[in-house]
């Protein structure tokens, strides 16, 4: 079995290439594979009929106990024969039907892929494996419906079918997951009905599974995708949308009937939905003029009846299910193929334009006749037996059965009339007004329908054969207990026969007075409004409206709104969090604040206020600088000289940068008068929440001994007295590595944004062209460079270090660049700043990697003692930091001034 599936996969993959190689015979070659499978299945019919099963199991996902578990029993054999038998005829048919099509190879591929999925679906004995194939059939159907992809309606129909069956599939997945969870197994054949039905989740399981099956088998609210799917080429309609895929839903119902069926809820749901679908389908069918759509609606009607029959769960009902399934697959596939042939030959499928075709297409006519008789349920065709059993099965249900039987008589009479339209109206009578002169079609086009239609006749006439070999075991697989199967054409004068006679006479009446019937039906205007595609379109429109609304709530394109939302979330989180924790704030100590600290804090706040409010550019820059200065002072007062020095350097470089960039920009307009208070409120809330968060985190004494450990071990183990620096270059040097990478990347990125190629970096004019200044500042540059080296060197023990040193050196060179033009610093250093930065990074990485020598960790320090002087890799690392920060900052400033010159 697995081999068959794999062969189908292989064939699907090779089909396009094969079609290119053998454009004429590819179809016939490919049809051999399903034919082979058909024969192989036939060869097993005897043993299966004896009650044996064929099993194959390959483990797939062990952790979830999901296996590729295949099982050939009566039900799957029946379906397998239909799939492979009709399938091989369809492939052959497609070869004729789509002879000239450019993408015939792809068509074969999809068709074989579908066959694989469908065969896998019926063979699977694992719920999840079954689901895998289930979804694959939906995908294959999507591809096939949209095959004529330049037609918008085909694309729409494909999407509709995919969404409905795919959506239903997801409900099914939920149902199967629950089912597997409840039953503690994925294996279908070992599901325990009592265990499943006794569980509290059973109703949910049942509803979800039914949702999946109903959507696939086009039951009532979901039926609308099936007629639209007729946009697919005819072989697809014949195969997927009448004979096989749409039966997947009823197949699953049948498969699960032994474990889920039997309860009143199951039966009433199936019967109610099935009967309603059947009646609606038949009513809609009779209103169509396009033969293909007409057949599609009759398929809906039949699917409804099949669903209903499973729901009846009576011996006759289940036998009728199997019979009707086979009969319908045979005649409906034949009819579809024949209609395709008619379309091919005459150029139309509208029956009012057809008539008298028998003369031109006798072979097709023969096939249609046989199939239509079976469809109409006339003896001795298989369809007749199916109908007899159906009525018997329904009548077994008692009073409800009587009611349903009435509905079914109506339905079947309509189907009878529809069959008449297909055969009598099209083939007999006066010739129609064809768009082109009809002719008999080629062998691949008539062979399939004829064979299938003959099958329906033979099975009916010699009905003991299917009884023994096929129907019996299949019925046993569906029913929860043993069922006695015996088929007959003549069972005496039973109520079922009476119903049959009634059906036929009513059907005749419908056919003969169809104009009146249609007129009557046409009166139900309000009803047809609901049953069309309209609802679907309206639903989609709603969904898209909601989607657009959702999107626009977040896609406003306003940066300020985005920022405001983030800030609001932050404030709310902190506010709620603090409230939830019960406001554990640090004790109030504002009165203890020292005057200098108070002054420094006010300075920084005032500066920030200025930056927030002032209109001018220069005043903005100055205000920001002032704010930074205030903070620097605050850091000094709080005994953090390294932080303060870094802050100072950063602030000064930042101010220069700002000045350089703002120079060329217009002044900032004063604050607009607009509605400012929501913004102020949000800003206030944000600030408040952050301040409070700080107070919360400082409420208790600082836990842990990190600070003490660093203080205690800095000198002894890190060989440095400046604990902050030792942390930076040794204890937590990994942070610093990341940090210099950030600096390097940021400066490169900023420079790349400013976008001047270095080649154009000329000697251009200095920015401040005053000779006095030029000469006067020169010593300062040297002083700064010297100081930076000093800061670097002593950093390990005194305030300073790589950052501060690098920034100081950069400040010096920035002065140089401002005075002497962008190339001046390069001349002085004999290196491009970018190269300097690269070297700095390389040195830092080298220092870190040296630690790996001798099996140590990354960044493990190695020390050399020059007398009393410790020299170690952390110092080398600090040098790397220095070079990197220096080079990176200079790189940006150089690029910026070069840009100024170009501007």
């Amino acid at each position: 079995m697995l081999q068959a599936l794999l062969l189908l996969l292989l064939a699907a993959l090779l089909a396009p290439a094969l079609t290119r190689l053998l454009p004429r015979h590819a179809g016939a070659c490919l049809a051999l594979l399903p034919l082979g499978i058909f024969l192989w299945l036939l060869s097993h019919m005897g043993s299966i009929a004896d009650g044996q099963v064929l099993e194959q199991r390959v483990s797939w996902i062990a952790a979830l106990q999901i296996a590729v578990h295949l099982r050939l029993d009566g039900l799957s054999l029946l379906f397998g024969l239909l799939i492979s038998g009709i399938g091989s005829l369809i492939v052959l048919y497609a070869a004729g039907y789509l002879e000239q099509h450019r993408q015939l190879g792809r068509f074969y591929a999809y068709l074989l892929l579908f066959m694989l999925a469908m065969l896998g679906l019926v063979l699977a004995d694992d719920l999840i494996l079954l689901f895998v194939f289930w979804e694959l059939t939906s995908v294959a159907s999507f591809l096939l419906i949209g095959f004529q992809h330049d037609k918008p309606e085909a694309r729409r129909a494909a999407l509709q079918a995919l969404l409905i069956t795919g959506g239903g599939g997801l409900a099914l997945l939920a149902g199967l997951l629950l089912l597997g969870g409840v039953a503690q197994t994925w294996q279908i054949s070992s599901l325990d009905a009592a265990q499943v039905q006794g569980h509290a989740l059973f109703p949910a399981i049942m509803l979800l599974v039914l949702l999946g099956c109903f959507s696939k088998s086009a039951q009532l609210p979901f039926h609308l995708w099936l007629p639209n799917a007729m946009n697919a080429p005819t072989p697809v309609s014949a195969f997927l949308h009448s004979a096989t895929m749409v039966k997947a839903g009823v197949f699953l119902l049948a498969r699960l009937n032994p474990s889920l069926g039997g309860s009143l809820g199951w039966s009433s749901l199936l019967i109610a939905f099935g009967a309603a679908t059947a009646l609606l389908g038949a009513l809609l069918a009779i209103r169509q003029t396009d033969l293909k759509r007409l057949l599609a609606y009759t398929t809906v009607a039949v699917l409804g009846q099949l669903t209903m029959l499973i729901g009846s769960n009576t011996p006759y009902g289940l036998q009728a299910f199997v019979l009707y399934l086979v009969a319908h697959s045979l005649y409906k596939a034949a009819l579809f193929m024949a209609v395709g042939a008619i379309d091919h030959a005459t150029g139309t499928r509208e029956y009012p334009r057809l008539g008298g075709l028998w003369r031109f297409m006798p072979l097709t006519g023969c096939a249609v006749a046989l199939a239509a008789f079976s469809n109409a349920g006339l003896p001795p065709f298989f369809g007749f037996i199916a109908k007899e059993f159906k009525y018997s099965g329904l009548l077994e249900l008692g009073l409800v059965g009587g009611l349903i039987t009435t509905v079914m008589i109506l339905t079947n009479a309509l189907l009878f009339a529809a069959a008449g339209l297909v055969f009598v109206k099209s083939f007999l009578g006066p010739p129609g007004a064809y768009p082109r002169q009809p002719h008999e079609v080629s062998l691949p086009l008539w062979l399939g329908p004829l064979l299938l239609a003959l099958g329906g006749f033979l099975l009916g006439a010699w009905n003991s054969w299917p009884e023994t070999w096929l129907v019996n075991t299949a019925v046993q697989n569906i029913a929860s207990g043993p069922v006695d199967v015996s088929l007959y054409l003549w069972g005496g004068f039973t109520p079922a026969l009476l119903a049959s006679l009634l059906t036929i006479s009513l059907g005749l009446a419908f056919y003969l007075r169809r104009d009146l019937l249609l007129k009557l039906l046409g009166r139900l205007q309000w009803f047809w409004q609901f049953s069309g595609d309209l609802l679907w379109d309206r639903l989609l429109k709603r969904v898209f409206a909601v989607a657009a609304l959702t999107a626009s709530a977040f896609q406003h394109g306003s940066l300020r709104q985005h920022l405001a939302l983030l800030a609001l979330c932050i404030s709310l989180l902190l506010g709620i969090g603090i409230t939830w924790l019960g406001w554990p704030l640090a004790p109030f100590d504002l009165h203890q604040a020292s005057l200098p600290a108070l002054l420094a804090a006010s300075l920084s706040l005032l500066g920030a206020l200025g930056a927030a409010w002032l209109p001018g550019r220069l005043s903005l820059v100055a205000a920001l600088g002032l704010s930074g200065l205030g903070l620097t002072l605050l850091f000094f007062l709080m005994q953090a000289p390294d932080v303060a020095m870094t802050m100072l350097m950063v602030e000064s470089l930042g101010v220069v940068l700002l000045a350089l960039i703002y120079r060329r920009m217009p002044r900032v307009a004063p604050q607009g008068r607009g509605l400012a208070w929501p913004r102020a409120l949000l800003a206030g809330l944000f600030g408040l929440s952050i301040g409070l968060a700080l107070l919360v985190s400082s409420a208790a004494p600082l836990p842990g001994d990190l600070a003490q450990w660093y203080l205690a071990n800095s000198y002894g183990q890190g060989h440095g007295a400046n604990v902050v620096n030792v942390i930076l270059v040794d204890f937590r040097a990994f942070d610093t590595l990341g940090e210099i990478v950030v600096v390097a990347l940021a400066m490169l990125a900023a420079a790349s944004l400013l976008g001047r190629t270095p080649a154009k970096l000329g000697t251009g004019d200095p920015v401040f062209a005053s000779s006095l200044l030029l000469e006067g500042l020169k010593p300062l540059v040297w002083l700064l460079l010297g100081a930076s080296l000093l800061l670097l060197w002593r950093g390990h023990n005194l305030p300073g270090g790589g950052f501060i040193g690098g920034l100081t050196a950069a400040a010096g060179c920035v002065l140089l660049v401002l005075m002497h033009g962008p190339a001046s610093a390069e001349r002085l250093l004999r290196l491009r700043p970018r190269t300097l930065m690269g070297i700095g990074l390389a040195v830092a990485l080298l220092a870190a990697s040296l630690g790996l020598l001798g099996g140590g960790a990354f960044f493990q320090a190695h020390w050399l003692w020059l007398g009393e002087l410790p020299l170690g890799t952390p110092l080398l690392f600090d040098l790397g930091v220095y070079l990197c920060v220096f080079g990176a900052s200079l790189h940006l400033f150089q690029r910026l001034t070069a840009e100024e010159h170009a501007a």
């Binding site: 959506g167 997951l177 099996g855």
Partner: protein, 498 residues
């Protein structure tokens, strides 16, 4: 050797970065060095993955300083898997970029910053110190700033501005949270923090700080309601870059969320409940937003939001199976999403636009691209037997097992809408004839390498789907590793060498 291997995910990109900086003049050499670095990284990542699959946890103390005083690095299963996938996507992006484009300068910068980004991403995956995590987040952030603005253009620059402003705010929140966390918990080491939280001795301030940090991660991960920056910006970047971002960046945020939440709260609680609702909202809002879009990358961007919802759902459910689902989803999603952006870019290149209305005709003209699109697209929609199906399967099953009906329903409903979006792209860009006729379609002759990248990633998607067993085993093992926290708790024990 072990120490070198452990640090290689950060060291290799950094060395490549240095090489790119120093080789600035020699364009061809930059590319060679960059590709060599990527291949080496992928190799190391492969070894790491193999070791992690054996159950080995690599960890080290930077500088040899014991935890919590020094910075710890840990590579457990989750980290190893993510490093491997990231290395793969990084290499694929670089190769894809090679064919996608012909400018010299842009390309060299592209290589340089991609390596910066990789260093940041890998650093974030391996560190076990929260401030260090902040630093690596900054590295990847600044690299992403550079990348998103690469190439200029008014539209791209506007997008960069939005991206930079919003991410800067997020990163400041992270910094604040890290600082406050130290102030109230007295440590930055994840292991020590885990001890405090798991024993219920965490102070109020520490909880507040962690919550704030989770918010910062949620912004990075683009979780509802703070995802606005993502769909507003991803579509403006150069295609290979948006692919890289969509594949990897938000996932770093998700990773951080998973790491911290599982480490600190292995048992479900109130936080998980909140996350659950946020995850559901993300899923729904993401797919609904996507349904309203009419451009390929915008559709895909909104889907990132919805899929982040799936991953967070796994985290929120907190059962081993759910967490395994989240890990599985993470692995699957990175590959698929990056690939879809690659394909979308190629499709746009051939059609001359990425607006669906102006696309079409690819099904007839570029059948291979159509096939390669179908694989990740169906996988994203969760169609079996592709990788996305198993990811969703695990999450839905976990929700049903825990009776989280709403979550399961939302997850399934989201699947339908994802299918809708994917088939919309399929119908519009592939099936529909090109509005300007077939002649308007470009030529795919020069794009072989890009197609090859796409094919490899699509193959991986297929492989993850068909051989889901081993991946699932790995995901389950990493889930139990996450919940037990063993890798990080072991940091505090004195090193065995002493």
């Amino acid at each position: 050797m072990k120490a070198l291997l452990l640090i290689s995910p950060v060291l290799l990109p950094l060395l490549t970065l240095v090489a790119c900086i120093l080789l600035r003049r020699q364009g061809a050499w930059v590319i060679r060095a960059s590709l060599l670095g990527s291949v080496l990284l992928l190799g190391c990542a492969g070894v790491l993955l193999w070791q992690a699959a054996q159950g080995q946890v690599l960890s080290a103390q930077m500088g040899g300083w014991q935890a919590p005083y020094g910075i710890s690095l840990v590579i457990d299963r989750l980290a190893a898997a993510l490093i491997a996938i990231s290395a793969l996507i990084g290499l694929a992006t670089l190769l894809y970029g090679l064919t996608h484009h012909g400018h010299g300068r842009l390309e060299r910068h592209f290589h340089l910053f991609v390596h910066g980004l990789m260093a940041g991403i890998c650093g974030a995956f391996i560190t076990a110190d929260l401030f260090n995590l902040y630093v690596w987040f900054e590295v990847l952030l600044i690299a992403s700033f550079a990348l998103i603005s690469l190439g200029g253009g008014p539209r791209r620059l506007a997008g960069s501005l939005t991206y930079v402003a919003l991410n800067l705010l997020a990163t400041l929140v992270f910094l604040l949270a890290a600082g406050l966390l130290y102030g109230s918990a007295g440590t930055l080491n994840m292991g020590e923090l885990a001890v405090q939280f798991r024993s219920g001795q965490a102070s109020a301030g520490a909880e507040l700080a962690v919550l704030l940090m989770l918010l910062a991660f949620a912004i990075k991960a683009a979780l509802f309601p703070v995802f606005g920056w993502l769909p507003a910006t991803y579509h403006v970047a150069w295609t290979p870059i948006s692919a890289l971002f969509a594949g990897l960046l938000t996932k770093v945020g998700v990773y951080a969320l998973i790491r911290l939440v599982t480490l600190l709260w292995p048992e479900p609680g109130a936080l998980h409940q909140v996350l659950l609702w946020l995850a559901c909202a993300s899923m729904l809002v993401g797919v609904l937003g996507a349904a309203a879009q009419t451009e390929v990358r915008r559709i895909l961007s909104f889907h990132v939001v919805s899929q982040v919802g799936y991953m967070v759902l796994g985290l929120a459910l907190a059962s081993p199976l759910a967490l395994a689902g989240a890990v599985f989803y993470l692995i699957h999603h990175i590959v698929v999403k990056a690939n879809l952006f690659f394909i979308g870019g190629l499709a746009a290149l051939l059609c001359g636009s990425e607006r669906l209305a102006a696309m079409g005709g690819l099904y007839a003209r570029a059948p291979w691209l159509a096939l390669l699109f179908a694989i990740p697209a169906l996988s994203l929609a969760g169609i079996p037997p592709l990788s996305g199906f198993w990811a969703k399967f695990l999450l839905v099953k976990a929700s049903l097992d825990l009776a989280a009906w709403t979550a399961a329903a939302v997850a399934l409903l989201t699947g339908v809408f994802t299918l809708l979006s994917m088939s919309k792209i399929w119908n519009e860009a592939f099936l529909k004839p090109h509005p300007e006729g077939e002649a308007a379609l470009g030529n795919s002759a020069g794009l072989r390498l890009a197609l090859a990248c796409i094919a490899v990633l699509a193959g991986l998607t297929l492989l993850i789907g068909l051989a889901a067993g081993p991946v699932l085993d790995y995901a389950q093992a990493s889930a139990s590793q996450l919940l037990s926290g063993e890798a990080h708790l072991a940091l505090l024990a004195p090193p065995a060498g002493d």
